[in-house]
Amino acid sequence: MRLNRVLRMSAAVVAAGLALSACGGGGSDAGSGSSGAKNLVAKAKNDKKLTIGIKFDQPGLGQKQADGTYAGFDVDVAKYIAKELGVEESGITWKEAQSAQREDLIKKGEVDFIVATYSITDKRKNEVSFAGPYFIAHQDLLVQAENTDITGPESLTGNKKLCSVKGSTPAQNVKEKYAKEVQLQEVGKYTDCVTSLLNKTVDAMTTDDVILAGYAAQQPGKLKLVGKGFTDEKYGVGLKKDDTESVTAINNAIKKMQQDGAWKAALEKNVGPSGYKIPEPPAIS
């Protein structure tokens, strides 16, 4: 009798697990927002409110300031898009979108769209739709200002020590391509890498150049960007899958931002101080 009960219990647990994973696999159409509006454009028009996911901890891109406001290039892009959709700054609710949670936040409708150094990849396209790219970053190296022997990825020889965030794409790239020549220190967040770099316990830190530029700007005269990008990371605006109307609307907003000079101005304001060369705006794909 007792065994029977145990078996039934475990069967129930397994079934629950399967049901959960089925939920994860299939695209469930959870309605977002209070208005019950079908898509983002309609919702912005009707409610005059948007919830936008950004990074809170990346200087120059998306950072929460001491006074509770938000600043950075991603934030400026998000504000511009919101304005084009008819939502003023006062109608925006900012929400932190940590890397691992981005798809989930969109699918559950907790955010309307995400502008958070969100690289467009095929795997992610299975889960969410992307507008853009609004920016193309390249994986690069940040070194101490007086360092002369690291000039690019090809100079990473002779047992150099690199730092990056654990599990991140840049860290994996280093492991795949340069593992024989360099040692990789993986840490919890980029600020830990900055600490190690300033302490000279590592020779360089690596991630997308525009993120590194933000940290270089924070430590004027101490750190410098090598400026030899070796990958392409297309930053896109993530939103609910198959909301094609909104993708088009956001693409138009990005194009307008690129053409009227606001795009360049936002970059110059946020990452210009680090000496980062402002690139040409990418073509919308």
Partner: protein, 231 residues
Amino acid sequence: MSTLFDFLDNPNYDLLGAFWMTIKLTFFSAIGSLIWGTILVGMRVSPVPIMRAFGTAYVNIFRNTPLTVIIVFTSLGLSSTLGINLASKDSTTSLEDNFFRLAILGFIAYTATFVCESLRSGINTVPVGQAEAARALGLGFFQVLTLIVLPQAFRSVIAPLTNVMIALLKNTTVASIIGVAEASLLMSEMVENESDSLLLVFLLFAAGFVILVLPLGLLLGWVAKKVEVKR
């Protein structure tokens, strides 16, 4: 079903290697924390006031500090800022070895306090008459502790120590924040790449830990029954 787990085909995913690292971390930390914990309990019950004070202070400080803080401190504090490294700077795996050893050091410092407190409760189960009889035979404190009291105490606390060891096994995931390539670090890589099968990734790693923890619990449970002192 097979297509579900296609994402595991990526040659960079060394699942067994990652869990092997988890096992190694657990093994060395367990040995170390048992030794250090036993020394600590000796201090806490010793007749020397300064030792007692040290033992009590140590246990209270380390037991009440979050493990994450301790592990990050070994990396940023000890290694990066104070320059205390546990591997030679010139070897080609110095970072890897250094952080592996620092993580173990952190786990030992933290887990030993729990081992110590479990043992101290075990000492309370040993009848006072045992120690008195040993004293009457002319044994000194150290002999009473190591020959009479601790062996009996150990036998009665296998069950609580099992819980400490299981907690330690799961705690080793914290080592990923200083870049030790164990299971949870591989999991963060998969979360980064496999955004379309997140739930499967989590279930996979949860299952991995269950596979490690269950036999450990069963084995030590059996040992506890075997060695229990029947009074």
